[in-house]
């Protein structure tokens, strides 16, 4: 392990230091930086697996000269799992980047991008490995800072700068809450070491525990992008270069999930009242639903993906929240199931969100725009990208045979198990959450049907799309790698579940893998196979068999007939991209049905011909959906501060007498009251 760890750090450090050593040679810089990152990714995967498999948590630490700070590393199953996830996506992103950053030759410094990229990956890895609160804070802030610099790679664009700043500030505010969380433990433990957090001399008072719970939820929630702290996400993730977006959406926000589990189940020992779990559940449901709803309305592909990250974090929190509720009632097996579902969805989301962002990157690379309305018909021009994107879309829509299906299924089962709960309130709430999850799921399906359909199907909607070419091989390999994982994780839960069980076991105190894997691994069951079960391999077999049956029927009856191809009948008009359904039009009914949430504002301008008002020369239609949280939560806050500051300028009015008066008054007041 030591060798692996040192190797990992060494390669990343090399990746940070070396690229600037080849000034003016972007190709070499690119190869060095991302090549090394690829290597590090491989090492990280091995390290993560090793950490998952070793019986005892593996620790190493180096003292520092700063009080309370020690460079302590701890690889328990939880940490290792996230190391594994980060490394997997990191590996794919590095390979993808080899091709993708060629876009930036001559525009931005490849050396800087490469170094920052390695640094970002390193900081994320360290975040999940850190075993000391102080160290955690340092790497956490570094992660935010480095990702900020990556986000503003194209800082000549104003909106990119805005996105970056917004992100940085939100991240820092979050950190402030995290600091408070740690301080609550620190006060009892008298140290920043996580070991001391786990076993303080005397247990925390109840009020303090609750405070810690809320602080952690806000602090880490800001990073995870839970509603209403999600607003930075749809700005920052699209602004970054796509391989960075893949990392940020795929794994960076997961570090927050890691930290939440760490705090709730490790530091607080999984001892909490039921309403904690309910709060998490509530947050999860809200984030999932609102996230997907806003995603649905986006025509900017990367913003759509960013919003869908909010949704998936919500789904993860649904699993965890349900687990927490069960935990609080001592139903440990179900609790473990909830966590397992959450973790399963974590890695799944990492895979397909990484894949989708890379796909979006490829589209950007090929068509030079992020607006779906200007794509179209790309499946014929970019078959591989299209295929991989489809796999990602199927996975994220939780459709069978892909990984999203398995984890979402597990979440559903956890919620259904609420019938074992004593409290009527929860008995009712969890199924409703399940229903809303179903709504989320199908909206996600629609969302990605739109994303794929508008981008890849029918006729090209712009000259960009018409001249698009398939992307370089490196990018395709990066995407293919993750696509394979999406399918693999979906078909082989019998391999994944035991690994995840090694995490949930210590956290909840029960091992459930043999119960979850019923019928010697063929079926997946929520602890008791009587309640329900699925068997992904069997489903796959069925689907394939039925598909073959369909083919057989088709060709048995009329196999000799060759298909004739003819252009689509457009009611007499020649079909053009103008006659196609637009992305905006596609979701219009949904927008109308849920108008209470979207509060859409529609503007329709019509220019008429001079001759007659019966003939329109041109019409202009635009609609916007209300960014509710920004309008009613964030903007007022900013306005308040700016306004206050403006009013307080008067303090510094420039008059010497006034200044002297300040001193005089202070003096007199202190003399009167302080003595």
């Amino acid at each position: 392990m030591t060798v692996l760890l040192v190797g990992l750090l060494a390669i990343y450090m090399a990746g940070i230091i070396l690229p600037p050593c080849f000034p003016g040679r972007p190709r070499i810089q690119n190869l060095v930086a991302h090549g090394l990152a690829t290597g590090a990714g491989l090492v990280g995967i091995v390290l993560g697996l090793a950490g998952l498999l070793v019986p005892e948590p593996w620790t190493v630490s180096a003292e520092s000269t700063i009080p309370f700070l020690s460079f302590a590393i701890r690889l328990d199953p939880l940490a290792s799992f996230f190391v594994l996830t980060i490394s997997l996506v990191g590996l794919a992103a590095s390979i993808f980047a080899l091709g993708y950053v060629t876009e930036f030759y001559g525009r931005s410094s490849i050396a800087a991008m490469g170094s920052l990229f390695n640094g970002f990956l390193l900081s994320m890895t360290l975040v999940v490995m850190a075993d000391n609160g102080f160290l955690f804070l340092i790497v956490w802030e570094l992660m935010a800072l480095l990702s900020y610099f990556l986000v503003v790679t194209e800082h000549e664009k104003a909106e990119v700068r805005y996105a970056g700043l917004f992100y940085l500030i939100m991240a820092h505010v979050g950190t402030a809450f995290i600091v408070l969380t740690f301080l609550i433990f620190f006060q009892e433990a008298g140290s920043f070491s996580f070991e001391a957090f786990r076993h303080p001399e005397q247990p925390l008072p109840e009020g303090m525990r609750t405070l810690a719970f809320l602080m952690a939820l806000v602090g880490f929630g800001a990073k995870a992008g839970i509603v209403p702290l999600h607003v930075w996400l749809p700005y920052a993730h699209p602004a970054a270069p796509s391989h960075i977006s893949a990392l940020m959406s795929g794994v960076m926000i997961k570090t927050a999930i890691y930290a939440l589990l760490r705090v709730y189940f490790d530091f607080l020992g999984g001892q909490f009242p039921w309403w904690w779990g309910f709060v998490v559940l509530l947050v999860g449901t809200t984030s999932a639903l609102l996230g997907v709803m806003y995603a649905l309305m986006e025509n900017d592909l990367k913003r759509l993906l960013a919003f869908s990250s909010v949704e998936n974090v919500g789904i993860i929190l649904l699993g965890i929240g349900a687990g927490m509720i069960f935990q609080s009632y001592g139903l440990k097996e179900f609790a473990a199931l909830g966590l397992l579902a959450g973790l399963y969805h974590t890695i799944n989301h990492a895979m397909f969100k990484g894949l989708l962002f890379m796909g979006a990157g490829s589209l950007l690379y090929a068509a030079h725009t992020r607006n779906m309305e200007e794509y179209g018909g790309l499946l014929r021009r970019m078959p591989w990208t299209g295929l991989f994107f489809l796999v990602g879309a199927v996975s994220i829509s939780a459709l069978p045979l892909a990984n999203g299906f398995v984890s979402e299924w597990l979440v559903f089962q956890t919620l259904f198990l609420s019938l074992k709960l004593p409290a009527l309130f929860l008995k009712l709430m969890l199924p409703i959450a399940a229903a809303l999850l179903a709504l989320t799921g199908v909206l996600a399906l629609v969302c990605f049907a739109k994303a794929f359909g508008m981008s890849f199907l029918a006729l090209p909607r712009s000259s960009h799309a018409r001249h698009a070419k398939e992307v370089p091989i490196a990018m395709r390999i990066g995407m293919g790698f993750l696509a394979v994982w999406c399918v693999g994780l979906g078909l082989a839960p019998m391999i994944v579940v035991p690994l995840l069980n090694r995490i949930t076991g210590p956290l909840t105190g029960v091992s459930i893998s043999d119960k979850v894997l019923a019928l010697d691994g063929w079926a997946l069951a929520p602890v008791n196979v009587q309640f329900s079960s699925i068997s992904p391999p069997m489903l796959a077999a069925m689907l394939i068999a039925c598909g073959l049956l369909g083919l057989f029927l088709a060709f048995m009856f009329g196999g000799r007939l060759v298909t004739r191809s003819h252009k689509t009948w457009g009611c007499g008009i020649n079909l053009s991209s103008r006659t196609e359904y637009t992305a905006t039009g596609f979701v219009q009914p949904i927008k109308r049905v849920f108008s209470t949430i979207y509060q859409p504002t529609v503007k329709l301008e019509t220019e008429f011909l001079e001759e007659s008002r019966y003939f329109a020369k041109r019409r202009r239609f635009e609609f916007h959906i209300e960014p509710v949280f920004q309008k009613y939560l964030y903007d007022p806050l900013v306005d308040f501060f700016v306004g206050m500051a403006d009013r307080l300028r008067i303090l510094q009015a420039g008059s010497l007498h006034l200044y002297l008066a300040y001193i005089f008054v202070t003096l007199v007041v202190l003399l009167l009251f302080a003595v």
């Binding site: 300028r649 303090l651 510094q652 009015a653 420039g654 008059s655 010497l656 007498h657 002297l660 008066a661 001193i663 005089f664 003096l667 007199v668 003399l671 009167l672 003595v675």
Partner: protein, 222 residues
């Protein structure tokens, strides 16, 4: 020591301090600039007398030096510099104030009370000889400070500052039986240089703004 018994001496010292305080009030009440300077000279003389009285009574001789310096610096050199500045910048004889005279006097009275109130618990540990000088010193410092706020012209602010210095000096000599000589010398040197620099500045201000009404200096602000 044979001539006076201690309490008579302390009476005299207190008398000196009181005179200083009175001159303060006079300066506050005074509307004419040159008169302010003259009053300051008078105050400095009183200060020197009190100091030398203390020196005589206690037999701490380097206070004599301090007293002599006071005469030289504050009663001769600095007033000359000030007069020059006044000549150069030909300020109006009338002073503008932020606070009118009666209010100013009232505030000064309040400040004196404050000074006594604060120093009350400390005075007992003072030397028998210089009972209330500490309180008076503090009062003078505060009044000088107040003058700087109340008066608009640069020169009068300088005078306020110098009055503060006098208060400090009274505190140092009368109340605390004088700082060590080197300190006294240093303080006086700094004082001299400071006044010079302030003089230079008011010259330049005059050249730049053709007025030394410091309440007009408000271009630098938020």
């Amino acid at each position: 020591m044979s001539l006076f018994s201690i309490d008579v001496g302390s009476q005299l010292v207190d008398l000196g301090s009181a005179l200083l305080l009175l001159t303060c009030f006079a300066i506050v009440a005074q509307r004419r600039l040159s008169a302010c300077v003259d009053l300051f000279v008078l105050q400095s003389v009183f200060l020197a007398l009190t100091a030398s009285l203390v020196a005589f009574l206690t037999g701490i001789h380097h206070i004599y030096v301090a007293a002599a310096l006071t005469i030289v610096v504050k009663a001769v050199i600095i007033p000359r510099i000030l007069k020059q500045v006044i000549e150069h910048v030909n300020v109006k004889r009338e002073l503008e104030m932020n606070v009118n005279v009666p209010t100013g006097l009232l505030i000064c009275g309040a400040l004196v009370i404050l000074a006594f109130f604060i120093t009350q618990p400390i005075i007992p540990l003072g030397f028998l000889l210089t009972r209330d000088s500490l309180a008076i010193a503090l009062a003078i410092v505060l009044i000088g400070f107040f003058m700087m706020i109340a008066r608009k012209k640069a020169v009068t602010q300088v005078i306020g500052f110098l009055v503060m210095e006098n208060g400090l000096f009274l505190g140092a000599t009368a109340a605390a039986y004088g700082m060590p000589l080197i300190v006294e010398l240093g303080v006086f040197f700094d004082l001299l240089v400071g006044t010079l620099i302030i003089g230079i500045y008011s010259h330049r201000l005059q050249d730049a703004f053709d007025s030394v009404d410091t309440s007009k200096l408000t271009t630098l602000k938020e």
